[in-house]
């Protein structure tokens, strides 16, 4: 098991190299001059040249890339072009906000999606099953920004139950301000988790060992939880893990709509101002988080299914 984890950690190195390579070159080759962004259009050609030299922007891109990697190896994510402060603390400062939001969204997805998926599978082709299927499709298909706006319209403007934007201070206001963004973010996840739970449960439902369990005289609820769900769990955890990774990296839209001070919105702002070290730093950080989440999911498999655990030992 430890050997497996170590192997997976080593495999993260090429992944991160790939991510930095792609993001670095895309940003470096995209039009627009960061120096002009910093100094403004009126700046003199001389001061522009001086800053270019200072930031090392006159060197060829590959050289700059290698230099960036060198800094990265020493834990240096660079300095922001915009505010001249180190990138790492600024990323770390915003990440917890994104994490809170993503975890709330995931919680919504698991708490709503899993039970609905189980019910839907057990009552296959009934009205309930068809209704949840339709709802699920709507949930997946609905664009996040639109759903977010609708929720704000109804629950903030009309009913005034929840704040429309910002992140509350203290537990009570924080939870209150979390409801709408978490619901927005969780909706499409809920639908994915629900659909996966349903199909995975349907596969398990007619297995011989379910008949064995019934032949023992066990109660249906117990069978559903201990025999069906446990066997259906691996695909559900896979989807949940992937979705969680997406929530961490892809909540930019939701964060923008609700003015949530998270990493996603921060990244979008940095892209707009061509603050390359900031974008790179955020992307690298998210890539690490994403890889770690996936690794955790893979380790979780071993605890769900002992057959996978015995494979890891090899």
């Amino acid at each position: 098991m430890y050997k497996y984890v170590l192997k997976r950690l080593l495999m993260m190195i090429p992944v991160l190299l790939g991510v930095t390579f792609l993001v670095y070159f895309i940003l470096a080759l995209s039009p627009g001059d960061p120096v002009r962004m910093i100094l403004g259009e009126q700046a003199s050609e001389e001061s522009v040249q001086m800053l270019r030299e200072e930031l090392g922007l006159n060197d060829p891109i590959p050289v700059r890339y290698v230099r960036y990697l060198g800094g990265l190896l020493q834990g240096d994510l660079g300095t922001s072009y915009k505010n001249q402060l180190p990138v790492a603390p600024q990323v770390l400062e915003r990440f917890p906000n994104t994490l809170i939001l993503a975890m709330s969204g995931m919680l919504v997805a698991l708490l709503v999606g899993t039970p609905l998926g189980i019910l839907s599978a057990k009552k296959q082709y009934t009205l309930l099953d068809n209704a949840t299927t339709v709802l699920g499709l709507v949930g997946v298909a609905m664009p996040t920004f639109w759903l977010g706006l609708l929720l704000v319209l109804l629950f903030s403007l009309h009913l005034g139950w929840f704040p429309s934007s910002g992140m509350g201070e203290g537990i009570g206001p924080l939870l209150k301000s979390l409801v709408l963004p978490a619901a927005t973010l969780g909706t499409s996840c809920t639908a994915s988790v629900m659909r996966m739970t349903r199909s995975s449960m349907l596969e398990v439902l007619r297995q011989d060992y379910i008949d064995t369990a019934r032949a023992k005289g066990l109660k249906e609820g117990y069978i559903t939880l201990h025999h069906m769900l446990k066997n259906a769990l691996v695909p559900i955890v896979t989807v949940a893990g992937l979705q969680f990774g997406m929530l961490l990296g892809g909540s930019a839209l939701t964060e923008t709509i609700f003015s949530w001070p998270g990493l996603g919105r921060f990244m979008v702002d940095s892209i707009k101002s061509k603050d390359m070290p900031m974008v790179l730093g955020s992307a690298v950080f998210l890539a690490v988080v994403y890889s770690v989440v996936n690794l955790l999911v893979d380790i979780l498999y071993a605890y769900i299914d002992p057959r996978i655990k015995s494979q890891y030992k090899k």
């Binding site: 032949a215 023992k216 005289g217 109660k219 025999h227």
Partner: protein, 327 residues
């Protein structure tokens, strides 16, 4: 002798998009306390459907029990509310399934799978249930310390021992074994059957043994019932059936076993195929393959005739006037 199990005129159908499958067409059977009955028939004859009907494990839809009674110690199982049926399952009637590879939950330790059935039927703590599960493992010839291992760490024969341990854990009155050895090697088959025989003697359990192997029946059963296309065509004492079989289908079954004393180049199977259960022939279900068939066989379903000593045959040759008058 008191009847342990009596199945009366059981009719079961599967209603699928491709048509109605008539799996059981009026099956009647009975089994006395402590005895063993072998139910013999080929694949698709309705053996497993019968076993699952007794346990009320038929999935509805597509399955549907249309008519009949299943009396266990005089109580109609089909009329029991599901809560009462749960008290019967695993406690009074147990079942051993055909394929040990798929009959165990792959993500639960085997000890726990045995302990579950004990915990649900007996008033014991979890620890006591696990202890008893360990004892059951030893009883079926496995080490108790392996209780924490998962099914994939056992061989097929060992898995079937675990399945048998589950079935016998609460000391049931009736054990239904659905082809318990079909999925196993011949050497392991003998071990598992011997073990079942010994345990049954110790515990006094009645047995309904479902198989397509006449040899297995000969070693393990007191009575034999032959099932064909969802009907019991012949039923009697082991000796009666083996030495004085009457139904043409039974005759064909025994005729298809190669003899040790006579030279034979080819096997001698029953001609034709078993009818499609979604499109059964009228009259006697066996008549298209029967060498004694006359016109009446295709028109009327034969009655069940007693040919002496409780040996019954469902065939026009043993009492139908039309059959005799046709000449």
């Amino acid at each position: 002798m008191e009847k342990q199990l009596a199945v009366k005129d059981l009719r079961v159908r599967y209603e699928t998009a491709d048509g109605v499958v008539e799996a059981l067409n009026g099956v009647s059977l009975s089994l006395e306390k402590g005895k063993s009955l072998g139910l013999v028939g080929e694949t698709g004859a309705g053996k497993t459907t019968l076993a699952k009907s007794i346990m009320r494990l038929i999935h509805t839809p597509p399955g549907n029990i249309l008519a009949g009674e299943i009396l266990f110690e005089g109580q109609n199982l089909l009329a029991l509310p599901i809560e009462k049926m749960r008290e019967v399952r695993g406690n009074e009637i147990s079942m051993v399934f055909q394929d040990p590879m798929t009959a165990l939950n792959p993500v639960m330790p085997v000890g726990q799978q045995i302990a579950e059935v004990i915990a649900v039927h007996e008033k014991v703590s979890k620890v006591e249930a696990m202890e008893k599960a360990g004892e059951m493992l030893e009883m079926v010839g496995l080490e108790a310390r392996r209780a924490g291992e998962y099914p994939h760490q056992f061989s097929g024969g060992m898995k079937q021992r675990v399945v048998i341990a589950i079935a016998l854990a609460c000391n049931p009155k009736l054990l239904i074994a659905d082809e318990p050895t079909t999925a196993l090697d011949v050497t392991i088959q003998a071990q598992v059957l011997d073990m079942m025989l010994n345990l049954r003697k110790q515990l006094g359990t009645s047995l309904l043994l479902i198989t397509h192997d006449l040899g297995v029946v000969a070693q393990n059963c007191d009575e034999v019932a032959i099932i064909y296309a969802g009907e019991i065509v012949e039923h009697g004492e082991l000796r009666e059936i083996f030495h004085d079989f009457r139904h043409p289908y039974t005759e064909g079954l025994f005729g298809s076993i190669p003899s040790l004393t006579q030279k034979a180049d080819r096997l001698n199977p029953i001609k034709g195929l078993m009818p499609d259960p979604s499109d059964l022939p009228a009259g006697c279900k066996f008549h298209p393959r029967c060498k004694y068939a006359k016109a009446v066989c295709g028109n009327a379903i034969p009655g069940t005739y007693d040919v002496g000593g409780g040996h019954t045959v469902q065939c026009h040759r043993y009492g139908s006037k039309e059959y005799e008058s046709e000449g």
